[in-house]
Symmetry: C2
């Protein structure tokens, strides 16, 4: 952990004392967000939005590489349209915002501000899909959505958030299943390979699946405080929406068939995960691949001759190998150190008169605080290597943390003890009965996070009812 700087430590609650307050302090102090005027809404400030732009661009490229096309659907959904798929409306009705007036007039039918766009896609697909030749249809949209949440926190649960939602139609159940899994793997790659956050891949239980889906696949990540966060979901919708919206195609034999659908979403919540996995008591730690700035140059004794010239020259020289910026403001270097630690810039580059004399610069890692005195003519190879090393270390550290925070339980007593003594994931066998799932939640507040693809048999019987176990489930308290 980087050396603590007094000025900022005073502003940020220690995570050991109050993790929720630490989170709130960091998102504010690192200038990621400000609160919007409506309760639960957030302003994503430039420091936060730049991270989102990087994540979005990485994911968008992957979405396009896998053959999907972007498009844009309207914000408003007529109430009657949302009601066409019964499970769906039941799931979403309690948490939508309603538009009742346009200009001076009361509307004849209320409109929902989209909480998700399955029904809009479904109605459009019904119009444009006729034959097997029209399949698959692989569409995606980047947009804002609104969910009228009671308790909110920036990024994690807000009245409005940004996301992409993919919606696809396929000729067969198998094709839709492959797509559902493919997009989960894409999400997992963004989390693991770019955000340095290890994820568990698996399936949600019936209780936890998306309203209107046949099944939901999920990636689950573990935060620093031992609580889980659902990092992305990919739904196999089966033919439910196709039946409700009459999305049918004639197959090669000329028979009319409903399409098989998927939908999958990735949101600004991911930034919340990044904060809670990598952050420390000095603030954010942003993985190099998604950092707005990867290297911040801080001149030391910048009033002395040659220092600023050299600093700007380094910015110029290094600009092609990394995202480099310079802070040449008249603030004291110590304040700048604090500021960019708080903002999580991966590498600080210090350059002062003595360094120039020695032909060196000081590279300071945000993740470990380690100082590397590096010859100036080696910076162009040292910096990319260091960025890679930071990226790798962050992932390894997060993986080690997850492993340490994963326990096995075979009885409810073990389950409760583990949750208390080493909060994190609990691996426990389950009979498959929702009653046991409900009971576990009631007794422990932990929920089933996923039925992992990689199954193990840690016991023969259900952790709750002790009857014959069906499968392994990861449980945790969750965001």
């Amino acid at each position: 952990m980087a050396k603590k700087n007094k000025q900022f430590v005073e502003k940020v609650t220690a995570m050991e004392d109050d993790f929720a307050q630490w989170y709130t302090d960091v998102v504010k102090q690192a200038d990621l967000v400000d609160y919007g005027p409506v309760r639960g809404s957030m302003i994503i400030r430039p420091e936060g939005y730049a991270i989102w732009e990087n994540i979005r661009d990485i994911l968008d490229a992957k979405i396009k590489e896998t053959g999907h096309e972007n498009m844009y659907f309207p914000l408003f959904i007529p109430e009657s349209m949302l009601q066409k798929e019964k499970d769906h409306i039941e799931g979403f009705a309690p948490e939508v915002a309603w538009v009742t007036h346009g200009g001076d007039e009361a509307l004849q039918e209320r409109l929902v501000v989209r909480p998700t766009s399955e029904v809009l896609f479904a109605e459009h697909y019904a119009k444009i899909i006729h034959s097997y030749r029209d399949l698959p249809k692989l569409y995606n949209q980047w947009s804002n959505v609104v969910r009228w949440e009671k308790t909110t926190r920036p990024f994690l649960r807000s009245l409005e958030f940004l996301w992409q939602e993919g919606h696809t139609c396929h000729a067969t159940e198998e094709d839709a299943a492959k797509e559902t899994r493919q997009m989960l793997d894409v999400y997992a790659s963004v989390f693991e390979d770019y955000m340095a956050i290890p994820v568990l891949k698996g399936k949600k239980t019936e209780k936890e699946k998306f309203a209107g889906a046949s099944y939901t696949l999920t990636i689950e990540s573990l935060m620093h405080d031992g609580k889980a966060l659902q990092a992305g979901t990919s739904h196999h919708l089966g033919t439910g929406f196709a039946e409700a919206f009459d999305i049918r195609f004639s197959n090669e034999a000329g028979e009319l068939q409903p399409v098989h659908q998927t939908s999958w979403g990735f949101t600004t919540r991911s930034i919340g995960a990044m904060i809670m996995v990598h952050g420390d008591n000095c603030g954010l730690v942003v993985p190099p691949k998604i950092a707005a700035k990867q290297v911040m140059i801080v001149p030391v004794a910048q009033h002395k001759e040659g220092v600023l010239d050299k600093a700007y020259q380094l910015k110029e020289q290094l600009g092609s190998i990394a995202r480099v910026d310079i802070d040449a403001s008249d603030k004291m270097p110590g304040w700048k150190f604090n500021e960019y630690e708080m903002k999580g810039v991966p590498i600080r580059l210090e350059i002062g008169p003595k360094d120039i004399e020695k032909g060196q610069a000081v590279l300071v890692r945000r993740d470990t605080g380690e100082k590397l005195f590096t010859p100036i003519d080696e910076l162009e190879t040292a910096i990319p290597e260091l960025l890679e090393d930071i990226q790798r270390s962050l992932f390894e550290k997060a993986m080690k943390h997850r492993e340490e925070k994963t326990s096995v339980a075979t009885t409810m007593e073990e389950f409760k003890n583990s949750l208390e003594q080493n909060p994190g994931f609990i691996k426990a066998m389950w009979c498959g009965d929702q009653q046991c799932e409900d009971q576990i939640k009631e007794e422990t507040t932990a929920t089933s996070r996923c039925i992992p693809f990689e199954q193990e048999k840690v016991a023969d019987t259900c952790v709750c009812c002790q009857k014959q176990a069906k499968e392994l489930v990861y449980w945790a308290k969750a965001y």
Copy 2:
């Protein structure tokens, strides 16, 4: 103009017969949009969205190059907040959508779905700006906005549209004035250098300026039917919002001063301009620099040995010099020709057995229909040159059209005759009195489009009242 293909001509109304219907036919037939479920809302389909992505990426790069940062503000604005700036609320209140319920509960205060975000930015700026050191603040956001329009048309005027809105704060009136003009020039460059649409630059009259601005700068373009379209606006907001929202900074002398603000917006309306400036009776004509696909390869007699192989080989080979796609579906080549003419792909590349024998491919220009028999080993230089030539020709053609459609009027009779006989821009002197502006609109339905930066004196007296003229104004009927 490309050779007319019967199949599609039957589907698209000729622009000479009914321009409005031609427009509607083209946006539908070229798969740019579909209508959304709520009156006046639109679904931007992949063909349309890909064009928007290209325009957006070009503009976003320019916005960042000029030092602006992206961020994101919430969708909802409390009613009381919108009311703080009086001109602003008066301008927008009649055309906003109102949210009155969240989940099952009636809200204590109604929320507006943002029609624009001046007030949100203003409140945030009041919190974060304290000193001259905090200035300028140069923020931008890409988002959707809603305006409850009575009559709507895809892209041109829709219930919801996509745009960017820049909002900046400056220490002096002059700095804000420079910014206002800089961003107008950025918009003009996107239109002229990328969308091949010539624009007039100038200032709006008091009557036509933005609700809440000191003054509004505008770029105005001329459509094929002689009607003008406001292509982008940049507003000098003065200190109106700063006073209403208390955005003040202490200057170097320690005195508290209101900031000087600007705002500027560029919307999906630009796609409407592209359609109406370049399109013809075969459909869209998309300028190469913003086209989703620049070259569409259509194999001829593709069942014959070697044709498809060669076609795919060309796609591979040309992929690094242009955005190239291939249509190897089992549709007849003639149908494919029609389809990509309708979609406005700049170059069609035909390759059949005879071409392969001769070592050539046929390049067909969408804009002129000209066929160029080109040796295969020259394609890599011929295609980029041809794309450049198409881009240039489109601009020149549009410029020639605008010049032909621009008349001078010194009396109201001339004004009316020109509007009738050669609909387009009318250059006429104005006394500066809003009464004359109102009267011109009433008598002719033409509105003042701009007071051009490049002033000329085409007469001594106002075209309407014949009193002493103050300045030249461009007038036109407008979208």
